[in-house]
């Protein structure tokens, strides 16, 4: 009985470690995107005339969501800590997966299909797109490996 409950707890918290990390990862990468590519390098434009309507909506929703995810992910992190349930490696797995997933969505759907804005203007953007997407895939793979290493084993 006690063991069963403990195992159930571990499964619950395993997914919450992943969830907290994932949210924080989405927020972190969006924050880096905003601060580095919009503000510091000024490569990304605030608004691009070729943006589709759906692109404007998608951008607005993801921007708002990532803002919440950064703060929410950290509060979930604090919650895991006070419950003694933090598994830091799994949490980092979530961070990489969230960051990579957002980077991939941003680099493919948002940049190329919805044409929210391009990575850089007045240059041949192809190598930039290639590196952007390659980085996204590498980040996702790191996340997947970390999550695989910290998966719940059904047999002890």
């Amino acid at each position: 009985m006690e063991r069963a409950k403990e195992a159930e707890n571990r499964v619950t918290y395993a997914s919450r470690n992943l969830g907290s990390g994932f949210l924080f990862g989405v927020g972190l990468i969006a924050f880096i995107d905003e601060s580095v590519f919009h503000q510091l390098l000024r490569w990304h434009h605030f608004y691009d005339k070729s943006t589709t309507d759906i692109g404007l909506i998608s951008d607005g929703l993801f921007h708002a969501f990532s803002w919440f995810a950064t703060i929410g992910g950290l509060f979930l992190f604090a919650d895991l800590r006070r419950r003694n349930a933090l598994r830091i490696k799994r949490w980092w797995g979530g961070v990489f997966l969230g960051a990579g997933a957002f980077q991939l969505y941003d680099g493919t759907i948002q940049h190329k299909i919805m044409r929210i804005h391009q990575i850089r203007y007045d240059v041949n953007v192809l190598p930039y797109d290639f590196i952007w997407i390659a980085v996204a895939i590498v980040i996702i793979l790191i996340g997947v490996v970390l999550l695989y290493q910290t998966r719940e084993k059904t047999h002890e």
């Binding site: 605030f46 608004y47 909506i57 607005g60 929703l61 803002w67 919440f68 929410g72 419950r83 349930a85």
Partner: protein, 258 residues
Amino acid sequence: MSSYIGGWILEEFLLCIFISLIIGYGYAVKRSNQTYRKWPLYRVVCWILGVICIAISVIGPIAQASHENFIWHMAGHLLLGMLGPIFLAVAAPMTLLLRILPVQAARRVTRVLRSRILRFYTNPLVATIINIGGLWILYTSPIYEMMLHSTIIHVLIHLHVFFVGYLFTISLIYIDPVPHQVSFLNRTIVFVIALAGHGILSKYIYATPPNGVDPLQAKIGGMLMYYGGDAIDLIIIIILFYQWYTSTRPRTTAVSIT
């Protein structure tokens, strides 16, 4: 010059209201402290800051400049509809009011708070639709230009922006007593949509200046609305999640300490 005289009287009148709001709150705190635990100082500070935010946006130089300049108009909007209401909400005026009212009157106020109509308006989704929807209508229809030429429309719009901003804030973060509570998850979902609606409108204004607004001012104003909205809403997000954090204090830990 009659409009100037009219504007002057309006400004004096508003100034009186703002001063009485601060004096009234101070008096209520004094009364409350005679019977209850000491009212926290930070709430008094928040009340004063809230009233100042609203005063700055409707009287004085910024309010004056916002007639001609869209950037100042947007700064005023952020103070009147977003930052001011947050400060006022944190100051918990309803709690204070219920403390000092005689029992009979306090019961009547509580009955109003529990009424169906307030239940409707304090629902986060309804408050969001009125708040963000109202802004969309203001900036994408001829109303914005009409506001610049009519004192009455001007006053009505500003009252609307303030009241729905306050309604929106108290529908998301519960500091004063709330009879009809909505779950944290639902409030978060609605809030994400609201912030997105605000951000999308900012970019829309950037690209499509409202009637009578200089395109360059619309661009800067739109960006101010976008980043200013993010910064101010961050305060509500942190309060909301902090309230979640304290409300889910664990009774047991995953690894039992024995």
